[in-house]
């Protein structure tokens, strides 16, 4: 076996474990997204999903020895930050309108 250093210990089963962890986090975030009724909580759940995806990307980056995955995570963080700022602004605005964070209060916004 060529790879003998500590870095080489990142093998297929390890990758799969990271991917599984990412999937679990994503699923938990999804549950939160669907089941919570507080708009802030919904956004927080999407952040969990983001992190699950980030784990996948970093793990692949490590696995393929390629910085692309890390670059993607940088962009992912950018988008998450932008989304958080806008989404929270919207939440505040919506809260001002109806004095509630309940997402179902806005179900009349269907197209």
């Amino acid at each position: 076996m060529m790879i003998t250093h500590a870095t080489s210990s990142f093998s297929d089963p390890v990758l799969v474990r990271y991917l599984a962890l990412g999937a679990v986090l994503f699923a938990i975030g999804l549950v939160g997204f669907m089941a919570r009724r507080n708009m802030i909580m919904i956004f927080l759940s999407t952040e969990i999903m983001f992190q699950g995806v980030a784990i996948n990307l970093i793990a692949f980056s490590r696995y393929y020895h390629n910085a692309d995955g890390q670059s993607f995570v940088i962009f992912l963080l950018t988008v998450a930050a932008a989304e958080a700022s806008l989404a929270l602004g919207l939440v505040v605005m919506l809260f001002r309108h109806r004095q509630t964070l309940n997402v179902d209060a806005w179900s009349d916004m269907q197209g």
């Binding site: 870095t7 990142f10 390890v14 599984a20 962890l21 009724r37 910085a67 988008v79 932008a82 806008l86």
Partner: protein
Amino acid sequence: MDYPLIIATACGAIALYLMMPRGQGWLVKLGALIGVLALASGLSYLTHWASVQFPAQHAGGPGIFFYAFALIAVGSAVGVVCHPKPLYSALYFVLMTLAIAGLFVLLMAEFIAVVLIIIYAGAILVTYVFVIMLASSSGVAAAAVDYDRISADPLIAVLVSFLLLGTVLETLFTHRPHGFIAAGSTSLAAQGTHWLGLAALGKNLYSQYTLPLELAGVLMTISLVGAVVIARKNAPQTHMLGLGDMPAE
């Protein structure tokens, strides 16, 4: 699909279902118990699976740190989703972020780990906490409001989510497409073992992804402006069309 995996996933689903906020404390405890069970069975399945599928590499497991961080991450993620008070959820989220940063360090992405802590734990979460304080009239001390205390349709949510999770895990563990890991092994071998450092990330960002990087900057600016516009309390009723009186039909 392997039965242990199904059982572990199902246990996880039941645990999460029980722990969703619905205003009954003992169910949460039961759910936590089942969740621990699910995690344990999952871990044992992992060990078993690795020894069966990759007998040669069995020695090179991920190590105790992975399991520790992974447990913290999953546990606190469940905490985020299940805690009826948004503020506690946010704090759990910080914990999760820290654990994931730890995992990133294990994956030799120190820079990303630091950035994650700074951006998520530092910036985004602070914003969340601000908004939570701002938007909920009650705050920390008061009892959670109704829509926080009782979740909506937890059963369907859990079922659908864990259906997706099961599908993904199935793909990972049993129906792995072939090229995915074999090719990776060879490429890893070919590239040697040098440490993929910050320099490589920087080079990658500023050569291959220059334009997206600039666009990301633009996106940030736009969202900044957008956030300001959205958050302004009194949007001006503009007299943009001209001077004098507004027209009257």
